[in-house]
Amino acid sequence: MAIDRRLLKNFDWITFGAVVLLAIIGILTIASATRPAIEGAGRPDFYFKQIIWLAFSVLALLLVVAVDYIWLQRFAYIIYGLGLVLLLLVLVAGKSSLGAQRWITIGPLSFQPSEFFRLAFLAGFCSYLAGSQGRLTWPGVIGFAVVPLALIIKQPDLGTAILLLSLFVVLCLAKGLNRKLIALLVVLSLLAAPFFGHIFWEGLKEYQKNRLVAFLDPDVDPAGIGYQINQSKITIGSGAFFGKGYQQGTQGPLRFLPEKHTDFIFAVFAEEWGFAGSLVLISLYLVLFLRGVDTALKAKDEYGRLVATGITAMFFIYFSVNISMTLGMMPVVGVPLPFVSYGGTALLSNFIAAGILIGIRTRRFELFYPQIW
């Protein structure tokens, strides 16, 4: 496979730089968050695993950039179909953790299919939208909204469900689908909300219900269900303006903050680097998002535009849900901070998504479909 020189010339260094920088910040913060409370005790190797995953992820990103995204469009439905099969597999043969069935183990590898399903969904749905004549049909709604949501809520994976629903709406809006239909959808979902809300509430596992209650009033029971939110706020707030300094945070290592290196990694970062550091981190994300929107605007075709919008929206939704949750502005829904939280599957899939994004920007001047070699 020959790499086109134009790929190097037009390579999107800004997006690439932003995500690699975020991942490095992530590894440093994971190392700090998981350091032992007692001096001399061994440090768990979470950060080292994440370094290995980062290496693979960067390779995967470059590989994805090298392959034209036209292939993604051509195999979109097959990829989406495979994604659905994986979701089914999780339900049948998945491993559960914390009451949720999200993991699949193949040999020594454990991974979360929903991490990859998001990409399959983007590939498939964008392809569907690009081919539609500005109209949303019932088979489309059922195939890209009802079926996957049903499978994911069954797991249950609240974070991914919210993400998919949001992506569905965002992409419909981006496509500029007939306003009447969207209005109808909004009205219908508003009407159905109490009904579905009930089913949703009943379908929630106990810990999810607790999280919602705790969000509504964290002081109800500071040592119980409100614990995570309270401790997260204490962790972030105690960083004050300049932070406690790298590896000087106390909330994580002393285990006051749960899920310190995954969902609550931002709190650990904010404790050690303070308001100043948090602003820098948020700015990095802002660069990533605005660059993503710009890529969508400059994409050479509609599929590229839709996929770039979807990926940017996905990063943005994860980011805002995760940060608002750690800041106590949202219930705890178990969404990781993209590129920073510990988790190999998520890092890999996010880097693949970033690769697709870079690919779309890199190829914005290519007017013709490349040769099939």
């Binding site: 029971d221 401790q231 204490i234 972030i236 929107v293």
Partner: protein, 597 residues
């Protein structure tokens, strides 16, 4: 589509802006508060109780003991909520009680909640073994207090209790652990600041599971100061024994210093009941007890001193020069004045008596005559000079003042003028005259010292120079000799206080109980018995007052108790060092007593 993307950019900028604002709010605006919370998360401050000072009697006998007191507490916030059922079972407590205590609203997080105290060793071992099942559960070691003497001197020594709920904000108790035991009664309360010491502090870094990770800082406690009382516990024991189940009080002082040698109030209570937090039922039974065991009768009960007051009247008459001590007054068993007969206790009368004989036989008629010659004004002046009607200022507990009536007092209180009859009954310590046992002991002490007015003090060797009441040497000599006669002469009313160990002087007294005159009987209508005494009569080292509530006659009931107390004090001294001195003292005593035996 371009417009949709522009809107998307706006949404992104808005959301990031809102998040940045929220970060500002948490980290900059509220940063200090959260920083403090994170420190409180991290550190557990444990107070190390200071060993309390020991209270000794004048012979260095310890009156209290420090014993380890184990209790179990929990820091619930870091533990999430424990399994209440299992916890209740482990501590042998009621499940609902444990749950209620831990989940009580308004608790500040991270402050240990004490679940049970006074654990025995088996309980400590069991809890230690299962501690890891209940994060945040830990054993605390306090220093408890034991009172090996039980009821003896309980009013004096006092007891410890928790800081009362309303008092926790008192600056006096700042720096004390929330469950600290402080002095609540007696010397434990009065000298609490000295005895208490300064608690140490151990700051430990803990993790969220309450596991102690490392010691950050430790300040050793400063041991409380010992208190050396002037009390002789031997007297207290003897008094407790000889009172039997009667109610009353005894106060003994060293007339040469004012040191309190004994201060007993009965019935008493067992201070050990209080040290581990008194049960409501025990408290109620103490409060409801008709004999009022929580009343310190030595300082808080006031009664007419009866004939013991005649000492004051006699001194007043001698000092004012209104009598010739050898002139006789004839007692026919009563004195009629204004159509009213003021009787003498001896129905047949004493016949002609001089001052000495009047005191020895406690002749009322003689003292009516002294009262008539003195007038209430002078009598009041001398009673006040001997401390009647004013607190002694011992400080152990709030004292009653007693009362010495005067014409002004009667006019103000009863709106009627003073009559000579009032003077008569006042001069024999009846009517409106009242005094507390400690006042009578102080009076006796001041007479025994020949006018050196030492204030009562509880601390050994710690007394102030006395004020001096200038009395004629003749007055002192005559009164002492008469008081010696009361105990040692044939017709003396205080013969029951006679001791073969040491020459004793004293005076009996009987306070009439209203109702007895109306022919009622029963214990509650018995007279109150008094006896004031000092010894040895030639060179007094001890002065005391005994009061027996509804005891009957002073000579019959109170004098034997005084004797027991005096012998408890002087007996060991004689045995220890000066056995050869005894005959000499007896000789001196008989010389003073006029040789009548």
């Amino acid at each position: 589509m371009q417009r949709a993307l522009q809107i998307f950019s706006l949404v992104i900028l808005t959301v990031v802006g809102v998040l940045a604002f929220r970060l500002f709010e948490l980290q900059v605006y509220d940063g200090g508060r959260y920083l403090k919370l994170s420190e409180e998360n991290r550190f557990r401050v444990m107070k190390i109780p200071a060993p309390r000072g020991i209270i000794y009697d004048r012979n260095e006998i310890p009156l209290v003991e420090n014993v380890p007191l184990f209790s179990v507490s929990i820091v619930p916030d870091s533990s999430r909520l424990p399994d209440f059922k299992a916890l209740a079972k482990l501590l042998a407590l009621d499940e609902a009680e444990v749950e209620g205590e831990i989940t009580k609203k308004g608790r500040s997080p991270f402050v240990p909640i004490r679940l049970k105290q006074g654990l025995d060793f088996a309980e400590v071992a069991r809890i230690e073994a299962h501690k890891s099942d209940f994060p945040g559960l830990f054993i605390e070691t306090d220093i408890g207090r034991e009172y090996p003497l039980g009821k003896v001197a309980a009013h004096l020594i006092g007891y410890l209790g928790r800081i009362p709920p309303g008092q926790s904000g008192n600056p006096e108790f700042r720096n004390l652990p929330p469950d600290a035991m402080i002095g609540q009664w007696g010397v434990e309360k009065m000298y609490d600041r000295d005895l208490r010491g300064t608690p140490g502090e151990r700051v430990i870094e803990v993790n969220a599971l309450g596991r102690e990770l490392r010691l950050i800082r430790e300040n050793q406690p400063a041991v409380g100061k010992d208190v050396h009382l002037s009390i002789d516990i031997g007297i207290q024991k003897a008094v407790e024994h000889s009172f039997g189940d009667k109610a009353g009080a005894l106060v003994a002082l060293n007339p040469n210093t004012g040191e309190v040698l004994a201060l007993e109030s009965l019935p008493s209570f067992d201070p050990n009941v209080f040290t581990q937090g008194i049960k409501p039922s025990d408290w109620k039974s103490l409060m409801d007890n008709k004999k009022k065991p929580m009343l310190n009768r030595a300082l808080q009960s006031q009664y007419p001193p009866g004939s013991t007051f005649k000492i004051v009247t006699a001194i007043a008459a001698l000092e004012e020069g209104v009598i010739d001590p050898s002139a006789k007054v004839t007692c026919t068993g009563g004195l009629t004045h204004g159509g009213h007969t003021f009787g003498c206790w001896k129905k047949g009368g004493h016949g002609p008596v001089d001052l000495h004989q009047a005191i020895v036989g406690s002749c009322d008629v003689y003292f009516y005559e002294l009262g008539r010659r003195l007038g209430i004004e002078k009598l009041h002046k001398w009673a006040a000079a001997f401390g009647i009607g004013k607190e002694t200022g011992l400080g152990l507990i709030r004292e009653r003042q007693g009362l010495m009536p005067s014409a002004e007092w009667k006019k103000e209180k009863q709106k009627i003028p003073w009559y000579l009859g009032d003077t008569f009954i006042s001069s024999i310590g009846q009517g409106a005259v009242t005094a507390t046992p400690i006042q009578m002991a102080q009076m006796m002490s001041w007479v025994a010292s020949g006018g050196k007015l030492y204030r009562p003090t509880l601390i050994k060797g710690e007394y102030e120079p006395s004020a001096v009441l200038a009395l004629k040497p003749d007055t002192i000599r005559r009164v002492r000799a008469a008081l010696h006669g009361v105990v040692n002469e044939g017709g003396g009313t205080g013969k029951n206080a006679f001791s073969a160990i040491v020459p004793v002087g004293g005076k009996t007294g009987t306070a009439q109980v209203v109702g007895k005159a109306h022919g009622r009987s029963g214990e509650q209508y018995l007279d109150h018995a008094w006896f004031v005494a000092f010894a040895p009569t030639d060179k007094p080292e001890l002065a005391m007052a005994v009061f027996v509530e509804h005891g009957g006659g002073g000579g019959a009931v109170a004098a034997p108790i005084a004797k027991a107390a005096i012998e408890a004090y002087f007996g060991p001294k004689k045995r220890a060092g000066q056995p050869e001195k005894k005959p000499a003292e007896e000789k001196a005593a008989s010389a003073e007593g006029g040789g009548i035996h």
